[in-house]
């Protein structure tokens, strides 16, 4: 249970996930923010107006998947690091995740990484496809990685090998 472990249930996750047809069209935001807290930068940072928190800033965010262009700006502005992008448009076998990643050193493109689930357990391997660190991201870089499609709902984050 989220409030006891920090791990949301599968139902909670699926409820905020875009439909597979939308995922297959290209990058789209998934906001895993399930608790009422006073916060709304996701809403006002989105130029497409695709995220709505509303007048009561304690509401949980709602993503309009059709308006969302998958630009990734909200990933770097969400203080809870709760938003990621998923993209199933590139291949029938794999999906690409984009996650905010604030650990140094940053991974490099082509690097093989462990992919973890929401409990931090390694579930598979993936490959880093892009690392973005624009000045406007204000020290919250975005790492994209590719994993087998069967892990669409289980994969959440990456873990690098300790050297």
């Amino acid at each position: 249970m989220l409030i006891k472990t920090g791990v949301p249930t599968e139902e909670q996750v699926k409820e905020v996930f875009p439909p597979i047809e939308r995922i297959n069209k290209g990058r789209v935001a998934v906001a895993e923010c399930f608790q009422r807290i006073p916060c709304n930068p996701c809403e006002y940072s989105c130029v497409k107006k695709a995220i709505c928190v509303g007048e009561d800033i304690n509401n949980t965010p709602n993503v309009d998947f059709e308006k969302c262009s998958g630009c990734g700006v909200c990933l770097t502005k969400c203080p809870g690091l709760a938003i990621m992008l998923v993209d199933g448009s590139k291949s029938a076998e794999s999906v690409e995740f984009s996650v905010p990643y604030e650990f140094m050193p940053l991974p490099t493109v082509g690097e093989e990484i462990s992919v973890v689930n929401r409990s931090g357990e390694v579930i598979t391997r993936g490959v880093v496809s892009e690392v973005l660190n624009a000045k406007s991201f204000d020290r919250t870089p975005i790492v994209r990685f590719v994993v087998a499609r069967e892990f669409l709902y289980a994969a959440r984050y990456l873990k690098r090998e300790v050297k």
């Binding site: 989220l2 006891k4 791990v7 006073p38 969400c78 689930n117």
Partner: protein, 362 residues
């Protein structure tokens, strides 16, 4: 004796915002801050903040003091900032004494005072809790993020409130292993998004658990952790040993109210506000005329609320000193609206209950 119209004690977010609105209203202001730097808790908070645009949400705490200081710059001589300067007492005649550095004492006679001294960390009682290696979470955060010192290699975090969760994350960013985050309560006290982000990075969060004993001869080597039942009793036979060289205690903050108690302000124990707090009215004035409060000193909350309270206390305090701001009523209404929005959720409801107990109607 130095004269100033408004004297602000504490240069954290609440104090700085009080200075902004008192100056805007036309008063001359002096800020006393016991640290060498202004910013209070913000100077160690490398994470992005919650809240809304007006309170600089999604900015990092460490970047917010500069934004506030920029607002203060234009007031030139109307503002004096004294750092490395601790207010020691507020006396019956309204005189405030302050210690500059180690041995120079200075007296102030202000027309009005805002006390914004913030809070201090609570301790936890268990066997061997004085072993070197056991710190308050705020101390560890200061070591890491202000001084760049790695506190150790393996940390056990006691307390799963926002501070425990955030400091755990920052320890991991500094390359320190966090072996677990414990909390005696049956649920995570901090925001779930913070918990989720450290959990997926591999840190177990154990609710209904506590530390009963620290192990080690000269320094910390490990800890005994136990499960607890709903009544917070340790469950026999659940002892587990964790190896660690640092233990962070993050079991809450308590308002730093000594100056107010000594000044004779009426004090009240309000659990929702995390301890003994000064009774105040809606204008942020305590039971002593001319002494105002804002921020964590009048109830532990967040920097976002501390800033808005600071702006409000600054307006009221300046008005008391004879400088009622233009559009006073509208500014107050706007700021009170911001506070109401921030406090519109479950954690805010808790705070509001406390405020209701503590704030006098007139």
């Amino acid at each position: 004796m130095r004269e100033t119209e408004v004297l602000i004690i504490g240069g954290g977010p609440a104090g700085l915002c009080a200075a902004v609105s008192a100056l805007e209203s036309g008063a001359s202001v002096t800020i006393l801050e016991r640290n060498r730097r202004l910013g209070g808790q913000l100077v160690k908070q490398t994470h992005m903040f919650f809240g809304s645009k007006e309170q600089y949400a999604s900015f990092r705490g460490i970047d917010i003091p500069a934004i506030l200081l920029e607002k203060l710059e234009k007031y030139g001589d109307k503002l004096r900032v004294e750092t490395d300067c601790t207010a020691l007492g507020i006396y019956e005649d309204g005189v405030v004494t302050a210690l500059f550095g180690e041995e120079r004492y200075v007296k102030y006679l202000p027309k009005a005072i805002v006390v914004a001294t913030g809070a201090s960390e609570k301790a936890l009682a268990f066997e061997n809790n004085d072993l070197p290696g056991i710190y308050g979470a705020g101390a560890v955060q200061t070591l890491m993020n202000v001084y760049g010192v790695k506190p150790g290699n393996k940390v056990l975090m006691v307390g799963a409130g926002n501070i425990g969760l955030i400091v755990s994350y920052q320890l991991m960013q500094a390359g320190v292993e966090v072996v677990a985050v414990l909390d005696a309560a049956p649920k995570i006290g901090g925001y779930c998004v913070h918990a989720s982000k450290i959990r997926r990075a591999g840190v177990p969060i154990l609710v209904s658990h506590t530390v009963t004993r620290a192990l080690g001869d000269k320094t910390l080597e490990g800890a005994i952790v136990c499960e607890m039942d709903e009544k917070f009793n340790v469950i026999e036979g659940t002892e587990k040993r964790y190896d660690c060289d640092v233990m962070c205690i993050s079991v809450g903050l308590t308002p730093l109210t000594e100056l107010l108690g000594m000044a004779g302000c009426e004090m009240k124990y309000v659990p929702e506000l995390s301890g003994i707090v000064p009774a105040r009215n809606k204008a942020y004035m305590t039971s002593r005329d001319g002494i105002f409060v804002a921020g964590d000193v009048s109830g532990i909350e967040e920097a976002s609320a501390a800033m808005v309270e600071g702006y409000l206390a600054g307006l009221h305090c300046a008005a008391y000193a004879g400088y009622k701001s233009e559009n006073f009523a509208q500014k107050v209404e706007d700021l009170e609206g911001q506070l109401a929005k921030l406090r519109g959720g479950p954690s805010g409801a808790h705070i509001l209950r406390g405020i209701q107990k503590n704030v006098k109607e007139d």
